[in-house]
């Protein structure tokens, strides 16, 4: 099993926001989802996930609500807000611009 890659700095918020596009999800779900989708390459550490969620709450990009999890346990579900969607779009654009630039440099420099 290859070791999990470190997340690029500043991308955690983007990834969390993107994950929530599919619908409300709890913290554990977000972590699992990222792991699955990235085929275990990306790992969201619990110690950074919760501060990130709090940050998004503070900025108003997500809202939180207590609900029942799939196995009927009390869990906190995070929902993307309109402001969160806008933020996701602009962060994503910015991310792609930077990644494109890095690619360009790697290829031609």
């Amino acid at each position: 099993m290859p070791t999990a890659a470190e997340l690029l700095p500043g991308t955690l918020d983007l990834i969390v926001l993107r994950t929530l596009v599919r619908g409300p999800m709890h913290g554990y779900g977000i972590a699992q989802r990222v792991k699955e989708i990235s085929k275990d390459v990306l790992q969201v550490g619990e110690s950074s996930l919760y501060p990130a969620l709090q940050r998004l709450l503070l900025d108003g990009y997500v809202t939180a609500e207590w609900g029942a999890s799939e196995n009927n346990r009390r869990a906190r579900f995070y929902t993307l807000t309109a402001a969160g969607r806008r933020q996701l779009a602009s962060e994503r654009e910015e991310f792609e611009r930077v990644v494109g630039a890095i690619h360009a440099v790697l290829r031609f420099a």
């Binding site: 950074s48 207590w66 869990a75 906190r76």
Partner: protein
């Protein structure tokens, strides 16, 4: 929006913490469940889940810090920690708070006083910076003096200047208000109608008077009450409009009430009412018809102006001076002043200055003394700071192990420093609050010293003073807290952890020693100041005044417009004299025309063989009864006093002061000499006696002034009053007043006051200096002694082991005592030397405030030194005794 969410979070922080915990627990149990599903044992799964989650506390903290600024959190923790640790040592806390409270209280009180005198514009004044008080100067016989007060001068200036958008005439004076027994002297604002436009103070009830009601020769008898007087005397009744009110000799009608807080230019002595200056004019002076149209009649008014926008102070001054010259030109045209006056020799000059009179060119010495005392109060605060820094330092040293442990546990130095500074600030704020409370008391004491007629400033309710006190408290807290914080940086962690409190501690005493020396030096400075003022005051009091002030009462007649012809007045005076002698406890009584320091009466003198008597100096007179010299205790040196036989029909006689006799007849016996009064061809007034010299102008210097006496029966009778000598003046005063009041016609009335009050006013600046310096000096000395005591006591406790060794090696208790006291003395002597040097250096600044006292007076310096040394010995005796009683066995075992 963020801030709203932050606040919401902060308010519900407990709930949030719980939610976060639940959330993390859920996360962990999901991982656990997952692992168990994959075949892990529950125990292994739990451990693995925990490992995956990492440091949950840390992530909880991190999550929390997203919401709460970390420093706010840290501050709250530190504050809680500080409060806990301060509560554990109440003695220390009380000592620090008490010391600082005294220092801060003194400063808050001084600030309140100085702020009021020098910085605070009258309330509700619009744009105070453009409003000025006007001072008018003219030169006579080579001496320039301020001369103003005429209504005509005011109208001249208002008419002939163009730099000002507003001009007003103002004066505040105590006038009798009310009728009959309810009559009381109250301060009244005497103002022109234009005065109210300078303020943003629309009448709360009714209206102000109009320019039409304020026109000479006699303005309308209308009055506007101040809010305080309306509430206090009329119970705030709205039907007060139209009510009659007797002020001075006139019956006024109330037409309005000023809004709360509007007190004109006199916040220190708020007036009861405002009346038109033209309604006041006619009740003042004898020639009532000319008070407004002649330069001869000064009614005591000042001029207030507002500069037009864009006009500089210099331009305004020039404009005003031009107008003043024109006014004097006019005066020389229409009047015949006695003396060879010309516009060129008068050199009229106007000055526009601050609306605050103590910032103007005619400021009294009180502003200066108040500033001095502020400096002194600041020194007291410095001493308090040094003391507190010392206490905090000692405390930090005691806590070195605790601090070292905290550092080892990962507390950053910044955090540790901020906690120590916070401790200082917290203590100082506590002290600040206590200080403000004590300042209320202190400032009323200050007030009694400086402005005896005033209402004390409200320190507690005055936001400016409170803000000042809290601001200074925070500064003091940071300054004192930073001293121990600086010490932390020097420590090596490992030695501190290994060492007990014993080793290495004592060497840090150098900084504390320096602080102690500084305290001692500052105390010496204040003690020397106190000594110099006390000696000045004593010198002033030792000058013979030429009369006794203590047993003498001054009776003033206030006629309130009642006018009597000469014969009736003479008979009233005779009845008053007889009545006062009938009062139990009265020994002697005499009529008089002038009271020392308060007024002068003079007339031209002509003496054969002398060209111009006036050139020799100023000759003032008093018209007195035969009993005058016995009443005042003024001795007759040669010849005789007045006798009942020196009446209106007998030959005119006079008694001259000793210096006057020397000045007029340096070689001859003055008895029997002839002096002509008022005119060179007047009949001879024969000198029948020579009296001891008296002080009537200044308690300190009477040179150039001469005094003589005429029998009251041989001069025009006056409305002035009497001097009465009593064995117990305080007890006699009320009896005398009610007895004399019975003789007074109509609305006129008498007041009785001790002559010592009049003299006391003259000595006030030295008395203020002596009292304030002594009080603050004693405070400083007490603080320094306390500081010395705490440091020595602390040192003894720290050196227990060392002292034990010394005793084990054969030192006797006396040696130990000498060791401890000697250390204290070394500090005192160093402080003394330093303080003496500073005092000598500062001497020339204080010299002008002293009286016949050298600022280098060796007696004062010696006494100050002895006091400091005595305090140092006293402070170290207790710790020294404790040191001498150390049992070497226990001390060595404990080490």
């Amino acid at each position: 929006m963020r801030i709203v969410r932050r606040l919401e979070h902060w308010i519900r922080s407990r709930t949030h913490r719980g939610e976060l915990e639940d959330e993390l627990a859920f996360h962990r149990s999901m991982i656990e469940g997952n692992l168990i599903a994959r075949g892990w044992t529950p125990d292994a799964a739990r451990i693995a889940a925990r490992r995956t989650m990492g440091n949950e506390t840390l992530s909880r903290e991190d999550a929390r810090h997203v919401w709460v600024w970390w420093w706010l959190d840290a501050l709250r923790q530190d504050a809680a920690y500080t409060v806990r640790s301060l509560r554990k040592s109440p003695g220390f806390t009380a000592a620090v708070v008490g010391t600082l409270a005294l220092g801060l209280g003194a400063n808050a009180a001084m600030f309140a006083t100085v702020d009021r005198i020098l910085f605070r514009a009258p309330p509700r004044l619009i744009e105070p910076a453009t409003v000025h008080r006007v001072y008018l100067y003219r030169t006579s016989e080579g001496v320039e003096a301020e001369r103003s007060g005429q209504y005509l001068r005011y109208t001249d200036l208002a008419r002939w200047t163009s730099s000002f958008s507003q001009a007003a005439a103002v004066e505040e004076r105590a006038l009798p208000v009310g009728t009959g027994d309810a009559t009381r002297e109250l301060p009244i604002g005497i103002v022109s109608a234009s005065f109210f436009e300078l303020f943003d103070a629309p009448a709360a009830l009714g209206r102000y008077f109009t320019p039409a009601e304020d026109t000479p020769p006699a303005g309308a008898a209308v009055a506007v009450l101040t809010d305080a007087a309306w509430k206090a005397q009329y119970g705030g009744r709205r039907d007060v409009i139209g009510a009659p009110i007797s002020i001075g000799s006139t019956r006024f009608t109330v037409i309005g009430v000023a809004p709360p807080g509007f007190v004109g230019l006199w916040p220190e002595r708020p007036p009861s009412a405002f009346i038109p200056v033209t309604a006041f004019g006619p009740m003042n002076g004898t020639n009532t018809s000319a008070w407004w149209s002649s330069y001869d009649h000064a009614i005591g008014i000042s001029t207030i102006v507002r500069r037009k926008p864009g006009v500089t102070v210099a331009a305004a001054t020039a404009d005003l001076t031009t107008a003043l010259r024109r006014s004097y030109e006019h005066q020389l045209d229409i009047e015949q002043p006695n003396g060879p006056w010309t516009l060129a020799s008068l050199r009229p000059r106007a000055v526009v200055a601050s609306i605050l009179s103590e910032r103007g060119p005619e400021a009294s010495s009180f502003a200066r003394v108040a500033l001095w005392l502020s400096g002194v109060a600041l020194i007291v605060l410095l001493i308090a700071c040094a003391n507190v820094a010392n206490l905090l330092l000692a405390r930090t040293l005691q806590r070195r192990r605790e601090i070292a442990v905290r550092i080892a546990l990962g507390v950053s130095r910044v955090r540790l420093t901020s906690q120590l500074v916070l401790e200082g600030v917290l203590l100082a704020i506590l002290a600040g609050l206590a200080g403000i409370a004590s300042a209320t008391w202190t400032s009323s004491a200050m007030q009694r010293l400086f402005l005896p007629d005033d209402v004390a400033p409200r320190v507690l309710t005055d936001p400016r003073t409170t803000l000042f006190a809290i601001g200074v408290a925070v500064l003091v807290g940071i300054a004192t807290g930073i001293v121990p914080a600086l010490q932390i940086g020097r420590h090596s962690l490992t030695t501190d952890l290994k060492a007990g409190a014993r080793e290495g501690t004592y060497q840090h005493a150098r900084l504390r020693g320096a602080l102690l020396v500084a305290q001692g030096a500052l105390s010496v400075l204040l003690l020397v100041g106190a000594g110099l003022f006390v000696r000045s005051l004593r010198n002033v009091r030792h000058i013979p005044l030429g009369y006794d002030a203590k047993p003498v009462l001054v009776v003033d007649l206030n006629m309130r417009g009642v006018r009597l012809d000469s014969a009736h007045l003479a008979s009233l005076n005779d009845r008053l004299l007889a009545a006062s002698l009938g009062v139990r406890g009265v020994e002697h009584a005499s009529l008089m025309k002038t009271v020392p320091f308060e007024g002068i009466e003079s007339t031209a003198l002509f003496v054969a063989g002398i060209d111009s008597v006036d050139r020799l100096g100023e000759f003032d007179l008093n018209g007195v009864s035969p009993d005058y010299f016995a009443t005042m205790g003024t001795r007759i040196l040669r010849g005789r006093g007045f006798q009942p036989s020196d009446g209106a029909r007998s030959g005119p006689v006079m008694i001259v002061g000793a210096s006057m006799a020397r000045a007029l007849w340096p070689r001859a016996n003055p008895i029997g000499e002839c002096v002509r009064l008022s005119a060179p061809d007047a009949p001879c007034t024969t000198v029948v006696g020579v009296a001891q010299d008296v002080h009537t102008h200044s308690v300190s210097d009477e040179s150039g002034y001469y005094f003589y006496y005429l029998p009251a029966s041989q001069v025009r009778p006056d409305y002035t009053g009497l001097f009465v000598r009593a064995r117990n003046p305080t007890r006699v005063a009320p009896l005398l007043r009610s007895r004399l009041q019975a003789e007074m016609p109509g609305a006129s009335y008498v007041t009785v006051r001790p002559l010592s009050d009049v003299v006391g006013d003259q000595e006030r600046s030295w008395a203020v200096g002596a009292q304030a310096f002594s009080a603050l000096g004693a405070l400083a000395l007490g603080m320094a002694a306390l500081g010395l005591y705490s440091v020595i006591a602390y040192g003894v406790a720290q050196r227990k082991h060392e002292l034990g060794v010394r005793m084990a090696l054969g030192a006797r208790p006396a040696d130990i005592t000498r060791l401890v006291v000697g250390e204290s003395l070394r500090v005192a002597v160093l402080g003394l030397a330093l303080g003496a040097c500073v005092s000598l250096g500062a001497a020339h600044w204080i010299a002008p405030l002293l009286f016949q006292e050298s600022p280098h007076d060796p007696v004062v310096f010696c006494v100050a030194g002895l006091v400091l040394v005595a305090a140092a010995i006293a402070a170290s005796l207790l710790p020294a005794r404790r040191a001498a009683r150390i049992d070497p066995t226990t001390a060595l075992q404990a080490g």
